[in-house]
Symmetry: D2
């Protein structure tokens, strides 16, 4: 069983929490704790050997914690997710393979696409695919239809697996802290259209990818995972794009693994990742 808690910091929190666990005869396999001294914020993840009554345990933990504490006692044996896609297959393909072989750590409820390009691959894995075209529809209508589909499946998380539509603040607010996005990153950053073309013209030696929670500023939410792949002068802009897809796939896979194992805590615009 996993217990994750965050609250304002004060002396004695770990003692209080682990005292409760000891009284319940729950053995700690691993414990990670972090205090953000600047925010005066306390974060903890405890992996317990045994399972216990979640609600009872949460109630007991509340008694030793400040009023603002957010407590999660591994609420679900497995997360439920909805995946949003456009046309690019690389992230979805990896998710579907892991899901099929039961190593994703989550149940894919359905895939929603604003194009039908990836419908066939979903069918091959018996995953429901819903096409919500944005043609001849304003953003509010489009998002209402997507939301309605999402809500029917009540997912824990919504994965933007190369979903190429910018979501409205209203949509994002509806699923605060539950939308995960992946996008390419560069050193230096390139603003504007055709970032790979710009990266090529600048001769960058690295292509990166960042997985993050989505907030109102699309690519600016709390970072979950980042990694890079080296490139050289012999990569064309197209080769750089291919390299970017490889690293996007790997980084999203890692981020999902961390999130599904309750290893990622968010506070303000930042994550604490107990890897």
């Amino acid at each position: 069983m996993i217990v994750v808690i965050q609250c304002k910091d004060q002396v004695g929190l770990v003692a209080g929490i682990t005292g409760v666990l000891a009284k319940e005869q729950l053995n700690i396999v691993s414990l990670r704790e972090h205090v953000d001294k600047i925010e005066n914020r306390f974060f903890i993840r405890v992996h317990l050997e045994e399972d216990a009554d979640s609600q009872a345990l949460e109630a007991r933990l509340k008694q030793v914690l400040p009023a603002d504490a957010v407590i999660k006692v591994n609420p679900l044996p497995e997360k439920k997710v909805v995946v949003l896609v456009t046309k690019e297959y690389h992230c979805l393909g990896d998710i579907l393979i892991r899901h099929y072989f039961k190593t994703l750590g989550a149940q894919v409820q359905c895939v929603i696409g604003n194009h039908d390009t990836l419908e066939n691959i979903c069918q091959r894995f018996d995953i429901p695919f819903y096409l919500v075209s944005h043609d001849q529809k304003d953003k509010a209508d489009f998002e209402a239809q997507v939301s309605s589909l999402i809500d029917k499946h009540a997912p824990d998380y919504i994965i933007l697996a190369k979903f190429m539509r910018i979501l409205s603040p209203e949509f994002v607010a509806r699923y605060t802290g539950r939308i995960i996005n992946i996008h390419h990153s560069f050193l230096p950053a390139f603003v504007g259209a055709s970032p790979y073309r710009q990266a090529f013209e600048r001769g960058v030696k690295l292509i990166g990818a960042t997985a993050h929670f989505v907030t109102n500023e699309l690519d600016e939410g709390p970072i979950i995972a980042q990694q890079i792949i080296p490139v050289t002068h012999s990569h064309t802009a197209g080769d750089m794009m291919k390299a970017g897809k490889e690293i996007e796939t790997a980084v999203l896979a890692k981020a999902l693994h961390l999130v599904f194992e309750d290893r990622v805590l968010v506070y303000r615009n930042k994550t604490v990742v107990f890897e």
Copy 2:
């Protein structure tokens, strides 16, 4: 202040330890805990915001811990080290530079060499250098002389910074858990002479380095840090050796940083590294 403890595992250890800390009004900045389920062994490192009376704290912690507990309450503000070298400069050079600019995290008491190649660089940094030649001396005499020099400086750790003499079990036993070595590693491993020549002939694509505590089996002690550097067909055996030195320097630097910050706990032939 840093507190590191290891002992046999049982329910309630974290509660007991953090209860003591809370009573002393010591605030936890970060806490890492690990249980080795196979060995039934408990490991913890606590970083406290404040300093406290080490001996008093240790005594109080003993009361809540099993009898076999090994407790270290950050015994020294800074570790003391003695460095053993032969002829290769890369690891020693890095240590001397960091030491000179006070970022090594340890005091270099002296350098002992079985050749005089590195005497001059030590003098340039005002670090005492002792030459203990092994010529016309049996191993016991050689090691006795080295030991006597070491013991005069009472170091916390002895760093083998490319010291190319195999140490006797007696010597190693004298400094159990306190000798740190760095050596190159390969995938696959190459046994026998000229490993770089063998690596070249096999066309390996990676050269690795391993920093570890020394036990009786020279290159087989508990691993502290490992890393690799990519190589290609265009590397000669000599180029591979150069690449190996780069990665040896980096891995030893990292291992020393981890050890000097009390982040490495050893049990049997294995480390727990709270990075």
Copy 3:
């Protein structure tokens, strides 16, 4: 068009080869050359902007090269491959997804398994799957049946995507330089059963994977690609195995990409990889 050549080294080879190309008005996009001074062996890969008559070009190149030259003028627009598997899905899944979306760079002719575990995933992608059980069959019979299936599909390469049977020298000899294998690697290497258990007990900090051509000594053929993934004390033996699968998938994908683009030349037990 890609031209790859290897032969004994002598002065004037690049001039001779590029002279032929220039006379044919073929423009060089990129050229990589390497001389193994120890073997006195010359290797070259030329990427030409235009296509040309392969046989005519090969004939003209022969005239400027030593008699022992091995010349390949990009013989096929796309390689054909047969994949051999046992029960583990990770490498096959990645291959099938890339194949389905036409980014593998090769045509998967069929998959042959010695268990039926992976039959269903092949069916979902409309890839023929043949079960060749080794039960109640001696090695010669088993391999004869596998060979017969392979030969029907006349593949350029045979991929051992976690195929867990040791192949006989006769089988390997039949497909010299055309069988590609992937396996985990460790620093240090662990001989014998349960290498992940041994790696766990030794507390390794890295898990590696090696993709290589198969020769008579199963895991000892020319290395195509190697990479590692970091692990920590908190990885159980099972977690290390999972990490090993991630890196095996990535390294095999990379090796196949290199081979399918004719970037890998083999001589004796070593590769030249023009990345």
Copy 4:
């Protein structure tokens, strides 16, 4: 001997160049060629086994190359460099150690600092150190004094080893393509003061470093090498700065190695790096 050439691309360049080398009985150890199809620009680096008369060879090569060709026939056995510093020691320390042990691949002529912090370490290595304070001096005067010192030593390259003054376009123009800088990089990029503080507040998981030639836009010149180091939530802004220094040291060392071996060709704002 190393030959590097760049010019506009046309059919037959490699044939022409290697024809000249073959006539001179010069054996090619390794050859790297690249054509930038967008710029229609040809780049080549040839490593020859033997030495030859540089001027005669250059003259003969000119005859087979377009008029715009830039030819370098390994002009010096060893590059000469001047190092500019401010207060941070990490890059200079690494350079001095490599230089002292004759593995830098260049002669350090002198170090120029705008503070005296690093004077003592230079003296310990018998390297002339010149203090050029910018106090009570306008930029033109300051740079005139620096230029005058540089020109006295006639270096091939000027290394900005954490030199924290922005250089004027006039100064940069004086040493076009010969000034190498190192600076930290982030994903995403942070504009303005205290980038490490911003990186900390944003919870980045990587810190990068970029070595590049300096052009008028200080951090925007052709990139030579880039690499990253992972960081976590447990790194304070100060820890991130330390990690940044580690990776800056490594990336600058790599970039210098590449430049000193004539592996880096520059065209417009981009490099071709024949690693």
